[in-house]
């Protein structure tokens, strides 16, 4: 708790003038009633001078209905403030320090009351949980004396934290590109072998499994031939989230910004890919470096879940750290396995990230860009930004990069739409 000096609020400023005016008017005209009015003014002036704002000795307890909720859950916050000092606080205004990443959905995180020593005041409000670790800021208490002429601002810390882990729900399969590992999985490759989808037929060779011999053709022409299928293999995928300052864009105050949406989509993609047997890793491209090497398994899923919730590079507001693009890119390239595909989540709000995508794609890491659209078209400059972004995405597509322009609709819908368009 920090103590600060009380300041004048100027609440009673002018009351002395009233007393003076009444007195000055009463003197020449000999009116007792005007003297009495002057007395009222003097009385209030004395009241305003009497007593300083009490030194608020407050203890704060903050209680969450759930300390680790799932995203979008409604959490009720109950704040209890006790006057631990010996003086009555006649005018106490409390403003709770709601974390910047959370929004109050019901009730008010504020209270105006009066507290006698040892008494408690309680107020509660509801916040909607969002992904991440949220720490409450100190509660601000404005203490005034009874007349309201003096005021003191006190901050009381209660140290409350809410951790909200993403659920990692797999909404739909993420279509992958052809770059794969030697292990079997679900990405249909151009390699002829065993699988589900027809690839080619060839002359029968000794040792081919009987189940793959084309018996219909044998019946027709008497020639033995073997059917080959597209071999299905697993891929190594690195989900790369653009968390540079330029990526923190949102159409308006209430909508989650592009990084928020990216991280959410990365969580969904992570879960979907992991459940289809692919090796998935997570990386960030921004001031705070984050790297989770591609792997499989339940433990890996738990690690990723914690990482997506807590890691500073995925926080809801931009990092203050400086960002060195070329170092970050070099470090990322060193870490990427040679056979790793990249799914880049970026709003593509500047040309730089487009060149990064092109370069990574050119280095042989086949790249898919999932781009949450933060642009709007209400003013001319914003329309221009939208047009620039469209051009950028078109250029990336012409360079052979798969781009999903993710607008308002759920990602699964956009994925289904895009998948129909893509050839393998």
């Amino acid at each position: 708790m920090s103590y600060v000096d009380a300041v004048d609020t100027e609440h009673w400023a002018g009351i002395g003038a009233l007393a003076f005016a009444a007195f000055a008017l009463g003197l020449p005209f000999q009116r007792p009633s005007l003297f009495l009015v002057a007395l009222v003014g003097v009385g209030f002036a004395a009241y305003a001078r009497f007593g300083d704002a009490p030194a608020a000795d407050l203890t704060v307890e903050r209680e969450l209905s759930e300390s680790s909720p799932s995203p979008d859950a409604e959490v009720t916050v109950t704040v209890t403030v006790e006057n631990a000092g010996s003086a009555t606080i006649p005018d106490l205004r409390l403003i709770d320090g709601v974390p910047p990443g959370l929004s109050v959905s019901d009730g008010a995180a504020r209270l105006g009351t009066a507290l006698r020593p040892g008494k408690r005041a309680t107020f509660s409000y509801t916040v909607t949980a969002t992904r991440g670790s949220h720490e409450w800021e100190p509660l601000t208490a404005v203490v005034r004396n009874a007349s309201g002429s003096r005021e003191r601002v006190v901050e009381v810390d209660a140290g409350t934290t809410m951790r909200c882990l993403p659920t990692l729900e797999a909404s739909s399969d993420l279509p992958l590109r052809g770059l794969t590992t030697p292990y079997s999985g679900r990405v249909a490759t151009d390699v002829a072998g065993s699988g589900l989808e027809f690839h080619s037929t060839r002359e029968y060779r000794r040792g081919d499994p009987l189940s793959r011999v084309d018996w219909n053709r044998y019946a027709r022409s008497g020639e033995l031939s073997t059917v080959s299928f597209r071999e299905e293999r697993a891929a190594t995928v690195v989900l790369l989230v653009d968390s540079r300052e330029a990526a923190y864009r949102a159409p308006d105050e209430d909508t989650p910004n592009a990084v928020e949406r990216s991280v959410e989509a990365a969580g969904e993609a992570f879960s979907a890919l992991l459940s289809t047997g692919d090796r998935v890793g997570i990386a960030s491209y921004g001031p705070e470096a984050c790297w989770l090497a591609p792997a499989t398994g339940e433990q890996h899923r738990a690690t990723a879940r914690r990482l997506l919730a807590d890691h500073p590079s995925f926080s809801v507001s931009p990092s203050e750290e400086p960002f060195y693009p070329s170092i970050a890119l070099r470090r990322l390239r060193r870490r990427l396995p040679a056979d790793a595909q990249i799914v880049l989540f970026s709003p593509a709000t500047d040309d730089y990230i487009a060149t990064v995508a092109e370069r990574l794609n050119a280095y042989g890491h086949q790249l898919t860009l999932i781009s949450p659209d933060p642009t709007t078209d209400d003013t001319a400059t914003r329309r221009l930004a939208r047009l620039e972004r469209d051009t950028r995405l078109r250029r990336l597509r012409s360079h052979g990069i798969r781009v999903i322009d993710w607008g308002e609709r759920p990602l699964a819908v956009e994925l289904a739409r895009a998948t129909r368009r893509w050839s393998r």
């Binding site: 003297f35 009222v40 009241y47 205004r93 209270l111 005041a121 107020f123």
Partner: protein
């Protein structure tokens, strides 16, 4: 998501309007001209509350009391003048407090308790001043009421200065 509307609290507005009406009534009973002046003050005060402007509220409160002062100048009964001036000051106090509460806490917040305490203590202090003054005035009614009240004011000013 609920935004904070930084407007004066409803309770404060109601209390201020009530006191202002009382002030206008007390003045208008004996001196209609003073009542008209106070009525103007009431309108300005309410306008100040509507746009949450401290300056308008102070001006409105000033005009309210001016009406009461005018009534006192024309020789109205001291008690009514006193009530008019006191309720004028209380209306100004409540309105100004409502604006500051609105600025700091917003309209949706429960601020009732703090505001009640503020209003009640202001009423008590004002009533005490009125009661003391009026008692001296009545006690000295036979002899020299003006001199005694004058001396009381001078004494009160001296006391306030000595306290500080």
């Amino acid at each position: 998501m609920s935004e904070i509307t930084r407007e004066p609290s409803r309770f404060g507005v109601a209390v201020a309007a009530g006191f202002a009406l009382l002030s206008v009534a007390a003045t208008a009973v004996v001196v209609p001209t003073g009542g008209a002046v106070s009525g103007l003050g009431l309108v300005v005060l309410l306008a100040g509350l509507a746009v949450a402007s401290r300056r308008l509220i102070t001006n409105g409160g000033g005009v309210l009391v001016l009406g009461a002062l005018y009534a006192g100048y024309t020789g109205a009964p001291p008690l009514l003048v006193l009530v008019g001036a006191l309720t004028g000051v209380l209306a100004w106090d409540a309105a100004s407090n409502a604006v500051s509460v609105g600025e700091q806490l917003g309209k949706e917040t429960d601020t009732m308790r703090g505001e009640i305490v503020h209003v009640v203590s202001s009423v008590l202090v004002g009533s005490l001043a009125v009661a003391a003054g009026y008692a001296v005035y009545l006690a000295a009614a036979g002899g020299q009421p003006i001199a005694s009240v004058f001396l009381l004011v001078v004494g009160a000013v001296a006391l306030v200065n000595a306290l500080r």
